[in-house]
């Protein structure tokens, strides 16, 4: 029969590899299949992770799955960096910052999560986009923040909420049922 401990480690490794593969596929879908709406790309990896985090917080509490979502954000971020010729770690840092913000927001405020979903999505996308822009600003060229906020950040947040809310509601309904 053998010792059950090594088998558990093997299973864990396989599950982790499956998660990595899943995040690579999601990143591939984001950079190739997702349409740009009004010239603004849809950050699919971020939205998927955020919605899943919100549903998990609702079902299991703040701390239960945040570590896992952070790990998934790291995998997805590195995959995005490889696919988009950005410095390795750029997307990972931006994604993880957004996830931490959303988890803190939802964990601290004792409000119905359905109400919190919109500010959580908007705030997280803001952190993600500003994070990436800061990296661009510090490594490539100094951005002008006011026009960037109006022309890029505001549409990106609006689009993320528009796409993210149906995704969140769908995940919520599916996991609850």
């Amino acid at each position: 029969m053998g010792d059950p401990q090594p088998r558990r480690v093997e299973v864990r490794i396989i599950i982790e590899l499956a998660r990595i593969a899943g995040m690579i596929v999601l990143a591939l879908v984001q950079v190739t299949l997702m349409p740009m709406l009004g010239g603004v790309p849809v950050p699919l990896v971020l939205l998927w992770l955020l919605c899943w985090l919100l549903v998990q917080i609702e079902m299991h509490g703040t701390l239960a799955r945040t570590a896992l979502v952070l790990r998934l954000a790291f995998y997805g971020g590195v995959a995005l960096d490889f696919l988009t010729a950005m410095r390795l770690g750029s997307h990972a840092l931006a994604l993880m910052s957004a996830i931490v913000l959303a988890a803190l927001l939802c964990g601290q405020l004792r409000v119905e999560l359905l109400v919190l979903a919109i500010p959580a999505l908007a705030g997280a996308v803001l952190v993600y986009a500003v994070g990436l822009a800061l990296i661009y600003h510090s490594t490539t060229i100094a951005l002008e923040w006011q026009p960037y906020a109006v022309a890029v950040l505001a549409p990106a947040i609006a689009l993320a909420v528009l796409v993210g809310m149906p995704l969140y509601l769908m995940m919520r309904w599916r996991l609850r049922s």
């Binding site: 950079v31 701390l63 590195v78 696919l83 988009t84 770690g89 490539t140």
Partner: protein
């Protein structure tokens, strides 16, 4: 005692939460540290071979998926297209395209003639040596306007080469400059990115003016001309082509590979305010829409 017994499960939960909280903080600290270490290592160029290898491995998949996306988009648009109107539209666009191309060439020719230079070279309308490339990844996020193409160092690409493309039936025009080159792929910084600055020549009614062009996507626009020569006014409808000054002045910079005379766009709105000259430029080719591009490897003298 009874209070203690009643509170026992709660104490256990609090203790378990503290443990989870500590574990989460530890987890986050490790992941952030690893990401930061990767970032610094890549910034110093230590991870370039890994970058190149993974991009090369993923290139076939990304290309197929991008084609699938394009095919789906075409099919979706086709559902709503009125076939006859579309055909007429295509015919008219082709006509406009030909006229635009002729106009660009004619305006350039007028300037060249006026200066009595390279009269024979004008007959060679496009004296470039080109290599075609598929677009494998388009702009994926809000940070930068960059695309990945399926050609790399193995095909003779180097950083700074000009990349031209065509959308619809418009003329072939500059869409970006090669930024980084891997063995089989390369990333192209689009002209619309804020980080892309090029010297350009504005051609209008037999006169030409030098100016600096910068991408404006991060500021909510497309292309903008600044620092134009003060001797002449910028006018709506004027044609903008690359000036190739870096190459002419023999600066040892990547942009020296960008030849002169590549069509870029047409001035949409111009402002001549005192000594300031600036204008918004409508590009001939929309860099977000191109599917196939050509890299200018060299200019045939």
């Amino acid at each position: 005692m009874r209070d203690f017994i009643d509170n026992a499960p709660q104490l256990r939960t609090t203790s378990s939460n503290e443990l989870s909280g500590r574990r989460l903080r530890w987890h986050a600290a490790v992941l952030f540290s690893v990401a930061l270490a990767l970032f610094v290592a890549d910034l110093r160029g230590w991870l370039q071979p890994a970058h190149s290898l993974v991009e090369q491995l993923l290139a076939p998949s990304t290309m197929r998926l991008t084609h699938l996306h394009d095919a789906t988009r075409d099919a979706w648009q086709g559902l709503f297209a009125w076939q006859q109107v579309q055909q007429e539209n295509i015919a008219l666009r082709q006509q406009i395209s030909q006229l635009q191309a002729e106009l660009v060439l004619r305006e350039q020719a007028v300037v060249e003639n006026a200066r009595l230079r390279e009269q024979l070279a004008i007959q060679e309308q496009r004296p470039w040596s080109l290599i075609g490339a598929e677009v494998t990844v388009r702009t994926p996020d809000v940070a930068r306007r960059v695309i990945t193409i399926s050609r790399g160092a193995a095909d003779g690409l180097v950083a700074g080469m000009a990349v031209v493309g065509q959308t619809g039936t418009g003329p072939v025009a500059l869409i970006g400059v090669v930024e980084t080159v891997n063995q089989r792929t390369a990333s192209v910084l689009l002209t619309t990115d804020f980080g892309n600055r090029l010297s350009v020549r504005v051609v209008h009614q037999g006169e030409s003016t030098l100016a600096l062009m910068q991408g404006q996507w991060q500021r909510g626009s497309r292309l903008r001309l600044e620092q134009a020569e003060q001797s002449s006014l910028l006018q709506k409808g004027a044609i903008v082509v690359s000036a190739g000054l870096t190459g002419k002045l023999a600066f040892d910079l990547p942009l020296a590979s960008v030849p002169e005379g590549i069509p870029i766009g047409v001035i949409d709105a111009a402002a001549n305010d005192g000594n300031d000259r600036y204008a918004d430029v409508r590009p001939y080719a929309d860099p977000d829409q191109v599917r196939y591009v050509w890299v200018i490897l060299s200019r045939d003298e």
